[in-house]
């Protein structure tokens, strides 16, 4: 019985969201040696579309419901990129807001129609209890984001 309790205790400690000197690890181990500035991704999206990139930046927003996405500030002022993960694969805690992250993911180009954006706006308004006016959406848009694979939060 004592061995069982010890085994369970040690097992909980050996969690995959492990702590290291660098920070808290999420998801897969980082593989790239070079970081790409987020501003560079936005300036040359076609060059990076579909490729795995590594970025570093400040976490400025975290999904409040399921921790399934974060916004990372760019090196360029007023700019940020969304890093999205599948629900449950990585769960970013709200406490990570304001911390530095090094993340890897696939740079994606998403094409949204006007209807897609209205649906998105209504969904976010419902989730955050805010108001959304569909008339503010006048056309579709192209959005760029990272499909997250792994990260270290410092």
């Amino acid at each position: 019985m004592k061995n069982l309790v010890l085994f369970l205790f040690l097992s909980v400690l050996l969690a995959s969201n492990t702590y290291s000197q660098e920070g808290v690890n999420y998801g897969k181990k980082l593989t790239l040696n070079e970081k790409t500035p987020i501003s560079e991704l936005f300036k040359n999206p076609k060059q990076y579309s579909g490729k795995i990139v590594q970025v570093e930046g400040l976490i400025v927003k975290v999904c409040e419901k399921r921790g399934c996405w974060i916004d990372i500030a760019s090196d360029e002022e007023f700019e940020k990129i969304r890093l999205k993960v599948d629900d449950g694969v990585i769960v970013f805690p709200l406490e990570d807001k304001g911390k530095i992250i090094i993340a890897e993911g696939v740079f994606e180009e998403l094409i949204y129609t006007k209807e897609d954006l209205i649906e998105q706006g209504e969904h976010q308004a419902k989730e955050y209890g805010t108001k959304f006016d569909p008339k503010t959406v006048t056309s579709g848009k192209v959005e760029y984001r990272l499909k997250g694979l792994g990260a270290i939060v410092k």
Partner: protein, 186 residues
Amino acid sequence: MHWRKLLRVLHRDIGYIATGLTIIYAISGIAVNHISDWNANYKIKKTTQKIDAIPTDVSKEEMINYVLKTLNISEAVESSFRPSPTELEIFLKGKTIHLNYESKEVTIETVNPRLLLKETNDLHLNKFKGAWTYIADIFSVALIFLAISGLFLIKGKNGIKGRGSWLTLIGFGIPIIYLLLYNFVL
């Protein structure tokens, strides 16, 4: 040992071990079942107020100091971000201050984890992955054993050959009937 006696011993002992996790998963289950109605992990409070004046032609750092002094906040700043030319976000531990330069509105968002509930949710939803995945799988197998062994613990009219059969059928029937209604009627 007679098989029913062995079953009772195993059911009893595994039941004792499973008590803690069963309660954890059940409480978390209720919490996340209502995830559309509330945030099961965090208590998020937002307050908005207006400040009288915003200085112009100041650096971001000077603006941060001005806002904190105006709001009488002395906590250390962890970092900051400008979402747009007319906005500033200041990140403190457990708190975000959002300033709109044009409307002079300041929104203070305070985030506090729900004590114990966040931890139970993290366990239930396998936030930790790794070894916890196997522990949770072992627990699930234990629950299956408890459910099936429970069917055969009692002999006679109160056992599985008596009223137990009807009660078990009701237990299976509830989700099946609901699924049928949901897919074909509702």
